[in-house]
């Protein structure tokens, strides 16, 4: 069921691309002072939100594009991370160094449990069972009054982060950027390690890899858990960003939105999640300014992407770059 977009090995990194990535990182790091100089302080917070969604989408892209598993329940891990931070904060644990790893670990554990059962199924059934598990988590959280029910669980303040004050939007932005950059670096390393090669082999031809003696299910489960863990970290960040662990984060439309980000950005490309989150959230910013019916406009644009740019924005950009590079 792997699409054309998955088959191209875009997880390739040359020294030149490394340089480009580093330049992009510097440019992103310079954004808050630039926005503040322009008097647009509000957009620092907006940009931080984009980075967090980029991290969540990147973690899903690892599962979908790299592991070849179309998971439709990523909101469960994203939301669980957010709730973990809020619940710990309520109990007095406000240090990011404790709460964020705990959030990631909880999401990872959840992914281990859900993945172990879901990976018994294939194709459409896998999509549906991951969706069902995510719904289960959603209903569990909204029906437990102790965790805020329908209203969600608010945070009194952002987590404490050593000597840095996360209440400052620019500092929070840099921390989010550091998390995203670390995650991208990690996933890039994984992609080039033996583990990553085997995983790509499984994505291309599962039965052949099984016949070669690789424990296919264990590899896929590991991939699912890595993605879930990173989503938990993104959840911890988003709870800090909005000072609320909202049930909306767990809703199935959130899983859908993340999946849409991945597809728009480019399935199976290192920067696909980043490009997709950026594209979708920028469109949201722009369209809400133009019309109240921006959802309809977004829907039409997505249809254009499906039929005109089936491999996503990142692949399209990649195509531009490599053409420029060979000349």
């Amino acid at each position: 069921m792997a699409g054309e977009g998955m088959k191209s090995a875009l997880y390739r990194q040359s020294a030149r691309r490394r340089g480009l990535a580093f330049a992009a990182l510097l440019a992103l790091a310079a954004l808050p002072p630039l926005l503040q100089a322009l008097g647009q302080d509000f957009y620092v917070s907006v940009a931080a939100r984009m980075l967090i969604f980029a991290l969540a989408a990147t973690s899903l892209n690892f599962i979908v594009g790299f592991g070849g598993l179309v998971a439709f329940g990523h909101a469960a891990f994203f939301g669980a991370g957010a709730y973990a931070v809020a619940i710990l904060a309520e109990r007095g644990v406000t240090s990011a160094f404790v709460a964020w790893p705990a959030a990631a670990a909880l999401a990872g554990g959840l992914a281990l449990l859900i993945g172990a059962i879901s990976l018994r199924t294939r194709g459409v059934y896998f999509i549906m069972i991951t969706l069902a598990f995510a719904q289960m988590i959603y209903y569990l959280f909204i029906s437990l009054k102790a965790w805020g029910g329908d209203d969600g669980l608010p945070l009194m303040a952002r987590s404490t982060f050593g000597p840095f004050d996360l209440g400052n939007d620019a500092t929070f932005y840099w921390v989010a950027l550091a998390c995203l950059a670390a995650a991208l670096f990690l996933l890039d390393r994984i992609a080039h390690a033996r583990f990553g090669r085997v995983l790509q082999g499984i994505r291309e031809n599962e039965s052949r890899m099984a016949a070669l003696g690789y424990p296919v299910a264990a590899y896929q489960l590991a991939c699912f858990v890595i993605g879930g863990t990173l989503a938990g970290l993104a959840g911890a960040l988003i709870a800090n960003h909005s000072l609320l662990a909202s049930p909306n984060l767990l809703h199935w439309t959130q899983s859908g939105t993340l999946l849409v980000m991945v597809i728009v950005g480019g399935v199976g490309t290192l920067y696909g999640g980043f490009a997709g989150a950026l594209t979708l959230l920028l469109l949201e910013e722009l369209l809400t300014g133009v019309t109240v019916h921006w959802h309809a406009a977004l829907g039409l644009l997505l249809l254009v992407v499906v039929f005109r740019a089936p491999r996503g924005v990142a692949a399209w950009l990649h195509g531009l770059f490599s053409r420029g590079g060979t000349k």
């Binding site: 699409g3 059934y125 199935w252 999946l259 849409v260 249809l303």
Partner: protein, 304 residues
């Protein structure tokens, strides 16, 4: 107590029948074309809105329902020819993206036409009261829904199991290429099946309208339930959809009514009051996970 259990069981049966109307069309779309259609719930919403609008314009509930079924079938056929047909050969991800986009468009279109406020759809006045059967009373309107649901399920069974058209549909669900090779125009057959499924969605939306709210987003919540149903039943199987629908309808309704009460038997009152609704809400998902764990292709797999 018996009255409560009986009433809830009937409610569950009635909800299950309505779920079947949605799941029947969805399972065929999945089965024949191996296509994920997230926008199926939007057809249900469109049906409910059309019914409310037509009923308000004509003053007759029956006219509203008939107009909704016909109108939504046309919308479904147009949708299939214009957009969905291009997606059959694409992978699941493209289908998810495109039909997700269709949900966004449908919700906004309904909002543009009818506004943000929920629409009012009243059951016919003659059926407003309860019916008394041997000391047991039950709302007349819900009995009507059960009657219509059973009739449609039977009619569907006859069409699918006994007619040539139904034979083609079943053949298409179990092996599309072979059916095409035998000279059946699966493409045209499928437009027909899709329009038919859309009509069934509208019927469910129109009949449930007076019981649930007619509002934007109503399609999404029931869509997930319909997915659970067809996955439990086995994708592509009408019989599986029927069994799955009734199972989900009864388990969900009875669970919500009885679980908090049952838990109180052996748990402290406060814990039971907290845990009961949570457990009831996830009951059908537990059921689905359990069934998929032991039978990964559902109860009645359509493909051998």
């Amino acid at each position: 107590m018996t009255q409560l259990i009986l009433e809830q069981a009937l409610n569950g049966f009635q909800f299950g029948l309505m779920l079947f109307l949605l799941a029947a069309g969805l399972t065929l779309v999945f089965g024949i074309m191996d296509m994920i259609n997230l926008a199926h719930g939007s057809l249900y919403m469109v049906g409910a809105y059309l019914a409310a609008a037509a009923a308000a314009a004509s003053g007759s509930f029956v006219v509203g329902v008939l107009a909704a079924v016909a109108g939504t079938a046309v919308v479904g056929a147009l949708l299939e020819v214009a957009v969905l047909r291009r997606l059959y050969q694409r992978d699941h991800l493209a289908q998810v993206l495109a039909t997700f986009a269709l949900i966004l468009i449908a919700n906004e279109a309904v909002r543009m036409l009818w506004g943000d406020q929920p629409m009012l759809l009243n059951a016919p006045a003659a059926l407003a009261g309860p019916v008394e059967i041997g000391g047991f009373s039950y709302p007349a309107y819900r009995l009507l829904i059960i009657a219509v649901g059973v009739a449609v399920a039977l009619a569907l069974y006859v069409v699918v199991a006994k007619t040539r058209l139904g034979m083609w549909v079943r053949a298409g669900a179990s092996n599309r290429e072979m059916t095409e090779a035998l000279g059946v125009n699966v493409k045209r057959l499928f437009t027909l099946v899709f329009a038919f499924g859309a009509g069934l969605c509208a019927l469910a939306g129109a009949l449930l309208g007076p019981l649930l709210a007619v509002q934007v987003g109503m399609g999404e919540s029931i869509l997930i339930l319909a997915f659970v149903v067809i996955v439990i039943g086995g994708i592509g199987s009408i019989r599986g959809a029927l069994v799955g629908s009734l199972l989900v309808g009864v388990v969900d309704t009875l669970g919500r009514a009885l679980l908090p009460w049952l838990l109180r038997g052996f748990l402290p009152a406060e814990t039971a009051a907290n845990l009961g609704p949570a457990l009831a809400a996830i009951l059908i998902y537990l059921l689905m996970a359990a069934i998929l764990f032991w039978k990964p292709a559902g109860l009645f797999p359509a493909r051998g």
